[in-house]
Amino acid sequence: MQPIVAVRDLTKTYAQGAAASRALNGVDLDIYPRQVTLLMGPSGSGKTTLVSIMGCILRPSSGSVKVAGREVTRLSEKELPAIRLRHMGFVFQGFNLFPTLTAVENVEIALELKRVPRRERRMRAGALLDEVGLNDKHRAYPADLSGGQKQRVAIARALAGDPDVILADEPTAALDKTSGRTVLEMLRRLAHDKGRAVVIVTHDARTLDYADRVVDIEDGRIAAERDAGEERYLVAEEG
């Protein structure tokens, strides 16, 4: 299977000189469609830096990143938004919804960026909200939604651009147990049923139940990479 994102010998250094801090140090990683990949590791290990670079919103210091076979590290600032728009969908820990827009308008905005005609936008945004179980919340504002509902709106928005990759940064961190499970189940279905590549940055051990692959990152390097079933077994053993 061809990876949708291929990262090779990636480094990222913040600042320069004595203050320089290396966040990533020679990372190689492939992300595949139909898989839920977990990026796990302690705070400051480089998970978020890695997902930012894979999402084409942060430039690496060196190394290669290919998205759908295209090298993106040398693309200009003007070219990168088109890559994000075409291939990436983001789900954030803090939801990052637009508080002045309704749920359906939040989803529509992603379609507007893709220049989908106005009438079609409303229809497709409504269908996506229905898909994530928010049939009755189209006109609700984010302030009137629970954390789980907000994250589902965020997932619908991420899906609106029909991306190849969903990058989710701590998607369950702000959610209660039930909402967290709903969101993770939704992300798993996106990978297994819809063929997306789903990357989840997390500390949350509950996430293991929904993952196919676990990548441990420590000190800017990939410390271990294994099948999630094996990880679940180890966690159970430790338990």
Binding site: T48, I57, P81, L85, F90, F92, N96, T100, I109, L113
Partner: protein, 374 residues
């Protein structure tokens, strides 16, 4: 995009009110100052602009209307004999002293004209008849200045430079920049009120015959008349306006106040739009992460600036028009013609858009990776 721009703008009502107040303040200040400037320029030269003359003949070296010195009236006959001249009349504008029945005095500007001529007549006459000025010692004044001059009706009598004068009519809406009211009277009476010597005049008003080239007529006048300058009405009007507006500094003050209003508007609007941008910076970061270009986000900010401009202008121009109407009953003359109102909208839009530039600069520097931070 439209809805995000509008929703974000109207979301924080307090900030919107502050923004709109700043714009309204700037619009009213600029409109009133420009209106005053136009009003001043209109009043400084209204006697010339309403004279109906093609040329004004003045003593050599005279720079503006109010300081003209008398010259020999022989020039009148030479002027009438000049080819292309349809009519030539003597005319006087002189400062004088108006003494009310109760003995109090104030300055006035005596305007001496030929009541049978079509040139130099008072305009906006609302009571009485210009032909009544044929009677010696009669005047027409503006209603607005009536209380200041101590007259309220036809038949009231006063003294001008010690000579009796009877009011035979009123105009309505003729202001003066010098605040000395105009007292229209016959040329003969004006010679006494001026005073101006019997064989002299202060101006000659010239009407060219239809079909004649004005420059040819002027060349003929210059060749025949002595010790005088010949100006078209437009030239002399411009000279008089420039003197009062720029020679005295009055116009510069008004223009500076208008510029100040504009700057205050830009600063207030820039500050509020910038604060709003900072408040929504994370949303703009999210948009960038989602694939929005800088141009897309600029358009949101510019749309907000344009909407603010439209609302602020709408309210501001209504206030300015009310001020214009109320100025008709007050001392200051505010004039806001429709083209000026339209230009003000362009100015308001430019003000708001330029105020948004600071925010645009901020958005350009947003790091989309910020969306992953907490």
């Amino acid at each position: 995009m439209a809805s995000l721009a509008v929703r974000n703008l109207f979301h924080d009502r307090v900030r919107l009110v502050v923004t709109l107040t700043g714009i309204v303040f700037a619009v009213v200040l600029v409109a009133v100052q420009i209106g005053l400037f136009i009003g001043f320029t209109t009043t400084t030269s209204n006697v010339i602009d309403n004279s109906g003359a093609d040329f004004w003949v003045v003593a050599r070296g005279v720079g503006y209307l109010e300081v003209a010195t008398p010259f020999s009236e022989k020039n009148l006959y030479h002027a009438r004999a000049t080819p292309g001249v349809a009519d030539a009349q003597k005319f006087i504008v002189r400062f004088s002293v108006w003494k009310q029945a109760d003995g109090s005095q104030r300055n006035c500007e005596v305007v001496g004209l030929d009541p049978d001529s079509s040139m130099g007549r008072p305009w906006k006459v609302v009571e009485g008849d210009v032909r009544d000025l044929k009677l010696p010692g009669t005047v027409i004044v503006d209603r607005f200045y009536g209380p200041k001059l101590g007259v309220s009706r036809v038949g009231d009598t006063v003294e001008i430079r010690g000579v009796r004068a009877r009011v035979v009519g009123f105009t309505d809406g003729i202001r003066t920049f010098t605040t000395s009211p105009l007292a229209f009277t016959s040329f003969k009476s004006a010679q006494r009120y001026g005073p101006v010597d019997d064989d002299k005049t202060v101006f000659l008003l010239i009407k060219a015959a239809p079909g004649w080239n004005l420059e040819r007529v002027r060349a003929g006048l210059k060749a025949r008349l002595t010790d005088v300058d010949v100006y078209t009405a437009r030239e002399f009007s411009g000279m008089t306006t420039r003197y009062w507006m720029f020679g005295t500094g009055a116009g510069v003050t008004v223009i500076l106040a208008a510029i100040l209003g504009l700057l205050v508007g830009i600063v207030v609007v820039a500050q509020t739009i910038y604060a709003a941008t900072i408040d929504h910076i994370r949303e703009f970061g999210t948009l960038k992460a989602m694939g929005a270009t800088n141009g897309y986000i600029y358009r949101i900010i510019l749309r907000q600036a344009a909407i603010s401009a439209a609302i602020g202008y709408g309210v501001g121009i209504v206030v300015a028009i009310l001020a214009e109407h109320s100025s008709r009953h007050g001392g200051a003359n505010i004039v806001l013609p429709v083209p000026v109102r339209a230009a003000l909208f362009g100015l308001t839009l430019a003000m708001c858009v330029s105020a948004a530039v600071v925010s645009i600069d901020k958005v350009t520097k947003i790091d989309p990776a910020m969306v992953f931070r907490g």
